[in-house]
């Protein structure tokens, strides 16, 4: 399992060298979006209207941060569970989004989209919101302010710690539960 330092925007060459289990330290600009923001992004695409950020080479972080206390750019900011965005993710990958960051399993359509469009799914440690917040040096709302914690934010990150969960070669890091050992079979 290799370690990589990557800089946004990401490109196909970056994606092709990543394998499930690799550690990545990500630096650059990423965009937050979770359930409600994804729905609005896809509504905009349906209407043929421009999106609030450029999808080419982009990284979307599934997070709804807690409010920034005085003197900090953002509050706690760990990943939310990713499967809820599975409905929308393939469409965004087809339009150039290179990676999503979340936690938990992805569906087959998303894994296929990662392979088809040379993209990856990163995991960050769920429940480590205070720790991950340290790697975010700036944050600003760029769309859907009315959604509160679900608004789209542009984040500047430095050495954001990620694990490759699903790569673009069909590899996956998550283990299958050992049902037999637990006495299920």
């Amino acid at each position: 399992m290799a370690e990589h330092a990557l800089q946004t925007p990401l490109n196909d060459a970056d994606m092709l060298k990543l394998r499930a289990g690799d550690v990545v330290r990500l630096t650059g600009t990423i965009y937050t979006a979770r359930d409600a923001a994804h729905k609005r992004l896809c509504d905009l695409l349906d209407k043929g209207e421009p999106l609030p950020f450029d999808l080419q080479g982009s990284v979307i972080y599934y997070v709804g941060p807690s409010p920034a206390p005085p003197g900090r750019p953002i509050g706690a900011a760990g990943p939310t569970t990713s499967y809820r965005m599975d409905t929308y993710a393939p469409r965004l990958h087809a339009l150039g989004c290179k990676a999503s960051v979340g936690k938990g399993k992805r569906g087959d359509a998303v894994k296929q989209a990662l392979a088809d469009h040379k993209a990856v799914y990163f995991g960050a440690t769920g429940g480590a919101g205070a720790l991950l917040s340290k790697c975010i040096t700036a944050a600003k709302v760029i769309a859907f302010d009315d959604l509160g914690p679900e608004a789209i934010r542009e984040l500047t990150v430095e050495d954001f710690p990620l694990l490759v969960i699903n790569d673009c070669h069909g590899g996956e890091l998550y283990v299958q539960p050992d049902r037999a050992a637990a006495g299920l079979e």
Binding site: D35, A36, V63, G64, P65, S66, P67, A68, P69, R72, G75, A76, A77, G78, T80, T81, Y83, K103, G104, K105, G123, T125, G126, G127, A128, G129, A130, L131, S133, K134, L147, G148, P149, E150, P161, L163, L173, Y174, V175, P177, D178, R179, A181, A182, G183, L184
Partner: protein, 279 residues
């Protein structure tokens, strides 16, 4: 009759909301240390290292442990000799939630189920009341995250399925949930009651300390057996594989209808944030 002022409830609840989200309970911290020592895989140990650094940072910086600061869930025992002046108890608790979530820079996660419009102050809280003897007010608060709540289930088993059926349903549920609910998890199990009461039992069981022992020896043995079996699933911290899929199993039971065997599995992520105060 003893009288307390609603403002006392408001301030207490606000403090509980903030402190619960900032200070991970000692029993949970201890279980991280014990579990990390048993893990052989570097990935599993790294998760515990990050979680430990995370609770230390939350304490130092005042940031919440997790950005999902939860829906506010309360179990409240109201002494029948107690009177609250100035506001009813439900309203006072909700006011405390408003204050705590605003002043503590906690995320407001409550929204309309259909329009998804945020209520903007994390109310209404989910409050379970009980009337008890005496003149005290006991408030237990839990910041319940959505990711683990989504992996929870309730089912109505046939009485013939008994303990083997219960065991199988719990194992299947945790296996299916996999990495989604932020393992290592704590599994609250409610057995009996009715369709609506079993999940309340399960949730209340999650308020117990991780290192306590169920006073009912039969339930204590069931908890031990299930915890061992769950950890053999090998899902591990954050689903990366390892010996720690669950930190604890807590079972509560209540009589049920002769036709039924209600069962609820309420999953709690590793960030088990709750506390109790008596006024």
């Amino acid at each position: 009759m003893r009288t307390i002022d609603a403002s006392q409830i408001i301030d207490t609840v606000a403090r509980m909301c903030i402190d619960s989200n900032r200070y991970l309970p000692t029993d949970v911290r201890d279980s991280f240390a014990r579990s990390a020592a048993r893990e052989e895989s570097p990935a599993a140990r790294e998760v515990f290292r990050q979680l430990t650094e995370n609770y230390e940072l939350a304490e130092q910086t005042g940031l919440p442990l997790c950005q999902d600061t939860g829906l506010a869930v309360f179990f409240v025992d109201v002494g029948k000799e107690l009177r609250v002046a100035g506001m009813n108890i439900r309203e006072a608790i909700n006011e405390g939630v408003r204050k705590g979530y605003a002043e503590g820079f906690l995320r407001k996660s409550a929204c309309d189920p259909l329009t998804r419009a945020n209520t903007r102050d994390n109310t209404p809280a989910v409050i379970h009341f009980d009337i008890v003897p005496g003149d005290r007010l006991k408030i237990a608060f839990m910041a319940k995250g959505g990711g683990s709540e989504n992996m929870s289930r309730v089912t109505m088993l046939a009485p013939a399925q008994g303990w083997p059926g219960i065991r199988k349903f719990v194992l299947e549920r945790v296996a299916e949930a996999g990495p989604n609910p932020c393992p290592p998890t704590i599994v609250g199990i409610g057995i009996g009651g009715t369709f609506d009461y079993a999940p309340i039992l399960a949730k209340k069981a999650l308020l117990r300390k991780l290192d306590d022992v169920n006073p009912d020896p039969k339930l204590a043995a069931m908890e031990t057996e299930l915890l061992e079996a769950l950890n053999k699933l090998g899902i591990g911290p954050m689903g990366l594989g390892g010996k720690t899929t669950c930190l604890g199993v807590k079972i509560a039971m209540s009589p049920c209808h002769i036709a039924s065997l209600p069962l609820a599995v309420n999953i709690q992520c590793h960030s088990s944030r709750h506390r109790e105060v008596e006024l």
